[in-house]
């Protein structure tokens, strides 16, 4: 394993300016995540889990401190560079699946490929990845609203994987699934970790966190255990 961490938070603070006053969501957090780690981020609500997730997903930038992803300082990047890093380096798996409602399952998976290569997928990659999560051609033609929660989450995983990202960022991936489907989803993620992905999991469910090899505990915006 390389010595340079894939993700490095160096004294990262995130402050939200609210009407009721400033709210410190992340308080001087320093943290390294190496390539091919399986990390669970845990903590009660309001502990800064979501803020941490937004930082790691480059949807937001730190108020102070530095965040390096894949060796690059996120705050120093342009908006377009951050957009491209989200597209190429990170795969997102959300609690609410967040599939694009107007697109079919297949098109949802094909979509990141179109973003990257600016053309429709002719390589068959989207179909192959969908097949690996148990979707045949017929099922792939369905719109998200016609699919069950577990099926939607599998489409979401396929979409996250299609551009072959280094990092899989999973925000409560089993939160909207029943126990059985939840564990099936976790099995898929475990398999992906074995294939070399760095998996970061945000959850409040200790049973789910058990899948991870390392648990980072957040409280009031501070890391209390890692």
């Amino acid at each position: 394993m390389s010595e340079v961490p894939l993700i490095r938070l160096a004294d990262v603070t995130k402050v939200y300016h609210l009407e009721s006053g400033d709210f410190v969501a992340l308080d001087h957090v320093s943290l390294d995540i190496m390539e091919n780690e399986f990390v669970a981020i845990m903590g009660p609500s309001g502990s800064g889990k979501s803020t941490m997730m937004n930082q790691l997903g480059i949807l937001d930038v730190p108020t102070s401190g530095n965040l390096f992803i894949n060796g690059k300082n996120v705050a120093a990047m342009t908006n377009l560079e951050r957009t491209h890093m989200r597209r190429d380096t990170i795969g997102y798996i959300f609690q609410n699946f967040y599939l694009i409602p107007l697109l079919s399952a297949y098109e949802n998976v094909e979509y990141p490929l179109i973003l990257k290569y600016k053309q429709r997928d002719t390589s068959g990659k989207a179909a192959a990845i969908l097949k690996s999560v148990g979707f045949d051609e017929k099922l792939s033609a369905h719109r998200p609203t016609q699919l069950s929660g577990g099926q939607q989450q599998r489409v979401a995983i396929a979409r996250a994987l299609v551009n072959d990202p280094k990092i899989l960022l999973c925000d409560e991936p089993t939160g909207n699934l029943d126990r059985k489907t939840g564990f099936q989803t976790m099995d898929i993620l475990t398999g992906l970790h074995k294939e070399g992905k760095t998996v970061i999991l945000v959850t409040h469910d200790p049973k789910i966190a058990e899948y991870a090899h390392r648990t980072i505990q957040l409280e009031d915006g501070k890391v209390v255990a890692s």
């Binding site: 937004n54 377009l80 989200r86 597209r87 997102y92 990141p112 179109i114």
Partner: protein, 397 residues
């Protein structure tokens, strides 16, 4: 390449079909308004211009140069001489050249006196350019035809006798007999002579009474082809005004120009009224686009968070506005032809010019303006969508 953002826009339009259709109707109305108003104005212009051009096939030549003619007892006269007339005939080529004598005079019909102009024309010329509505053209020396105004004012009939000249007890006034009555000419005289208030007699009778046998007050050149107007004018000018300007050459084209420019301002004005409806349409498109953006906040959040560029999100919404515009423009274009044709035929009563390029061009022009207005209305909503904060947007319900 089939663009997925275009696909997304098409699906969004389909998903909200009713709303999209209603918004497009605004554009339809706008396109129809602009196109039919434009066509109405243009057809009006073309028709009026054509009517006026009918009168500009006449070149009028007059002279203000004062000279003493041998036949006029040393009295200074103005007018066009015989030799100048011959020069004009040479220069005019195949076109008809009509010399006219005219003066103002008093006359009496029975016991009532009047004033009007009396014109002397060659009998053959009279036959070729005067179309009487009643009676016939003069055959004899003392036959006359009269204009419509004079005829109705003095209740002239065929056979009525008119005494020409000032009433004078010692002299017997010459008499002409009305053999024909001319129709009302008004402004649009097709031969350059306003005959409404005139008594027209033969040139020989005229010379016998008023003199000036070798000089004419006016010479008209009636063109066979109106496009030769300036060429013929130049030819006459070169021939007659060789050394200095002795005759004045004029035509009615300046009148046509001024009427045309008035009508063109009128067209611009009604077009401006038509554009108001397009402004209303723009508002409704803007409204629908804002609704589309506001309804799809979470979707926009998804697109942005998984790496869609701002420009791509903008494009998606501009496509949507473009699709609404295209739908509106196509329906509007078809309706413009139907409605425009009906309006022109109802208000002008002449559709001869409807399919000419300068008229029908308003259909594609109106369609293009409709699409442009539509896309322009989508610019702000598209910008708003692309600049959303993905975190905030994802949180939206």
């Amino acid at each position: 390449m089939k663009d997925i953002f275009f696909d997304l826009s098409v699906r969004s339009v389909k998903l909200n079909f009713m709303r999209s259709l209603l918004a497009s109707i605004g554009i339809v109305i706008g396109v129809v308004a602009i196109s039919s108003m434009g066509m109405l104005g243009t057809n009006m212009q073309l028709i009026v211009k054509n009517q006026l051009t009918a009168g500009i096939n006449t070149i009028v030549i007059t002279s203000d140069v004062v000279r003493s003619e041998p036949g006029s007892f040393g009295t200074p006269t103005t007018g066009i001489t015989k030799s100048q007339l011959n020069d004009i005939r040479d220069a005019a080529g195949i076109n008809d050249v009509i010399p006219i004598d005219r003066t103002n005079t008093q006359f009496s019909i029975g016991s009532s006196d009047g004033r009007g102009s009396i014109m002397g024309l060659d009998l053959t010329d009279m036959k070729s350019i005067m179309n009487v509505s009643e009676g016939s053209t003069p055959r004899g020396e003392s036959d006359a035809i009269v204009g419509a105004t004079i005829a109705s004012r003095f209740n002239l009939k065929i056979g009525t006798r008119i005494k020409i000249g000032e009433p004078n007890i010692s002299v017997t006034r010459p008499v002409v007999r009305v053999v024909g009555i001319l129709p009302t000419i008004g402004m649009s005289s097709s031969n350059g002579i306003n005959t409404d208030n005139a008594i027209i007699v033969s040139d020989t009778w005229y010379s016998a009474q008023f003199g000036g046998d070798n000089v004419y007050d006016q010479v008209n050149v009636n063109l066979k082809d109106v496009s030769t107007l300036s060429a013929v004018e130049t030819a006459i000018g070169n021939k007659v005004n060789r050394n200095k300007e002795v005759v004045r050459i004029s035509d009615a084209s300046s009148r046509v120009t001024s009427v045309s420019s008035t009508l063109s301002s009128l067209t611009t004005f009604i077009l401006a009224i038509g554009s108001i409806s397009l402004l209303v349409a723009a508002t409704s498109i803007f409204n629908v686009m804002m609704m589309s953006v506001n309804e799809r906040v979470q979707e926009i959040g998804i697109l942005l968070s998984i790496g869609t560029e701002k420009g791509e999100v903008r494009r998606m919404f501009l496509y949507e506005a473009f699709i609404l515009g295209i739908i509106g423009a196509i329906i509007g274009g078809i309706m413009s032809i139907v409605i425009g044709y009906s309006v022109v035929s109802a208000m002008i009563g002449n559709t001869a010019y409807f399919f000419l390029p300068e008229s029908i061009i308003y259909v594609p022009a109106g369609m293009l303006i409709g699409v442009v207005v539509c896309v322009a209305s989508g610019v702000y909503p598209a910008w708003k969508a692309s600049n959303m904060d993905p975190i905030e947007a994802l949180r939206a319900e």
